[in-house]
Assembly symmetry: C2
Homo-oligomer: 369 residues x 2
């Protein structure tokens, strides 16, 4: 046999599917532990169809060469069983930080990164004075389990803050001040077991309704801002002792200064465009970092963009044939059932120039709407 | 569900594996009929583990949206069962031609293409005068079932010709005259059910021992030669009524004239470099053409090359870590057991210039040897 390694993944959704697709050509077989019988990764990985804490499933994962994950909200019971038995990358300590917005922000500040002004709200008493402390307006976010804009409420007054906290169930929250950003950007960084850092592209992102809609590389940021992003990402990866791949989301201020919004301890929707850029993809980078294989930067060779395909209301299915005809467009469907607003796939668009990519992305958006 | 189609493939080797990997993001599930329990495509496709003529297996394939194949030597019994039940692309008529060197050459000439001087040798009597008729030297090839240099003998005299024919078992053969080429090039063409043509890149190939060793795009051919290749490929696809993807191998003569060496009714080793070029890959093009999905040319956006990984003698395993470190190199392993000389994988190399790609390919070859 040629090189033959096995990578375990906690979770079997589209991120696991794309890691498995990218890992296969490296001589890597993938095993996913995932309770959903219809999970996307079942099509190209060994599917352990069980809960994340299933002893037999965890035993099988423990027999892999390394284990990674596709979402940060894996039960601690699962990661603590694996820890010590198999390299778990990123480690439980990194997950512990990044699954809780409060701990994450404190750990980012400790690593030397700027974050938005924030206050932890764990008791009703802490509502008092919090809004003023973060600048008079903000976003209240549950400390744990939020994603894609879920568990977030924009608040402009003390009254709204109180109502929002009640609406979110009175659980531990973080109140974040608004950051007057000129753009949102993100960057992936992978760190190998030997400490080697490799970087993804600085990608520019546009959200709507809390969900990423489109990304483009290169970002319109200055070279200095891109370098700052790499320095910050490297500093966080080192300070946190990351082995594996993490993605940092930043707010870029008008002077080019970067404020870290959040950290995903995994591949990220904004990195999907690396699949078709001619370079190493974030999925290959994640597999390599988890397995301790030699790393390279995972940078596209040419401009590229990404548009998410969200689930549609009846009668609004995308025009697949129109999508298929767009020059430079690469379709990526996850084989998931339609549900309005659900991430069902994405389209990467490549081109020789940023303008060509933007024009292609507009055609994609027209075919999707 | 998003778009959901099913593509059947006769054969489950590495070509089927790479078609399945490319088809999945299009919303296409793949089913392979393949007798080998360890066949590469089992890792990312539904594997019907049975002979090519297995009635239950063929029935399952007949229920797919379309069926294609990864090698031309599929038993006629299999294709004739499928024909009429499901779109089989390319069609049995195309396969019938391209699986027999004599019929293929006649059909190429009928389509207006130049071929090397040749003689059919089906009886001992036909050996007489044959070598002189093709120019005094040639290559005797079995009319059917040859691949990767197997079933071929170089002959320089009447005596050698007779011995070679005996060595090949006295079966139907084609004696081909030598063509004084300056380079070998190849080009894929896909034709949709509506007759639309789309083209791959003109790729330059280097063989050794009858096996493709390396390919590079762009070829050093003139633009006129590249245009001639597209015209010839289109003419053959139309004259043969191809629906699906075929690949033409050419000898390029010193004046730029092209002589067709052979036609593969499928994706081809020389097209593997399209996987990492930022454009549509030959595998996606093959899936699209078979399923009648809209097509685009399947051209890389930047220079790229490919080096095959052949099975090694004990003690000569490739230096995987060195391969992993080569900038611009993309590894593709097929998950096959090692056997000296067997195709086990390939490495695509991408770069901003042809020179950068060639330099990367040299590093790859050093890591492989």
């Amino acid at each position: 046999m040629t090189r033959e390694l096995t990578l375990g993944i906690l979770g079997g959704g589209q991120l696991a599917q794309m890691i498995a697709l990218a890992a296969m050509p490296l001589g890597v077989r993938t095993v996913v532990l995932e309770p959903d019988a219809q999970a996307p990764a079942r099509l190209c990985a060994e599917h352990l169809h069980a809960s994340y804490t299933d002893p037999a499933g965890l035993k099988r994962l423990a027999g892999c060469d390394a284990v990674t994950l596709e979402f940060e909200n894996v039960p601690v019971e699962a990661t603590s069983v694996l820890d010590g038995q198999v390299p778990l990358r990123p480690s439980p300590a990194v997950l512990h930080r990044s699954k809780h917005r409060g701990r994450e922000k404190a750990a980012l500040e400790a690593a030397g990164a700027n974050v938005a002004p924030y206050r932890m709200i764990e008791t009703e008493a802490e509502l008092e004075g919090a809004l003023l402390a973060v600048g008079g307006q903000g976003i209240l976010k549950t400390a744990e389990l939020g994603y894609d804009g879920k568990g977030q409420v924009r608040v402009n007054s003390k009254h709204e803050l109180r109502a929002a906290w009640t609406e979110l169930g009175g659980v531990a929250c973080v109140l974040e001040g608004l950051v007057p950003f000129v753009r949102e950007v993100s960057l992936g960084v992978a760190r190998g077991p030997d400490g080697t850092l490799s970087f993804g592209p600085l990608v520019e992102n546009a959200h709507a309704g809390g969900i990423l809609r489109r990304s483009i590389y290169p970002a319109q940021s200055s070279d200095a801002a891109a370098e700052q992003a790499r320095i910050l990402a490297g500093a966080v990866a080192e300070a946190w002792g990351v082995v594996g791949l993490i993605t940092l989301e930043f707010f870029e201020l008008s002077g080019g200064k970067l404020v870290v919004n959040e950290v995903a301890p995994r591949v990220h929707n904004s990195g999907h465009l690396t699949q078709d850029g001619g370079g190493v993809s974030q999925f290959e980078a994640a597999a390599r970092a988890a397995l301790g294989l030699p790393m390279q930067d995972f940078l596209p060779l040419h401009p590229c963009g990404m548009v998410n395909i969200l689930g549609w209301e009846e009668g609004h299915e995308p025009d697949w044939a129109a999508l298929d005809r767009i020059s430079g467009a690469h379709l990526h469907l996850y084989h998931k059932a339609n549900k309005p607003g659900r991430k069902l796939g994405h389209v990467n668009v490549v081109g020789r120039t940023r303008e060509e990519v933007l024009a292609g992305m507009e055609q994609v958006e027209a075919a999707l709407s």
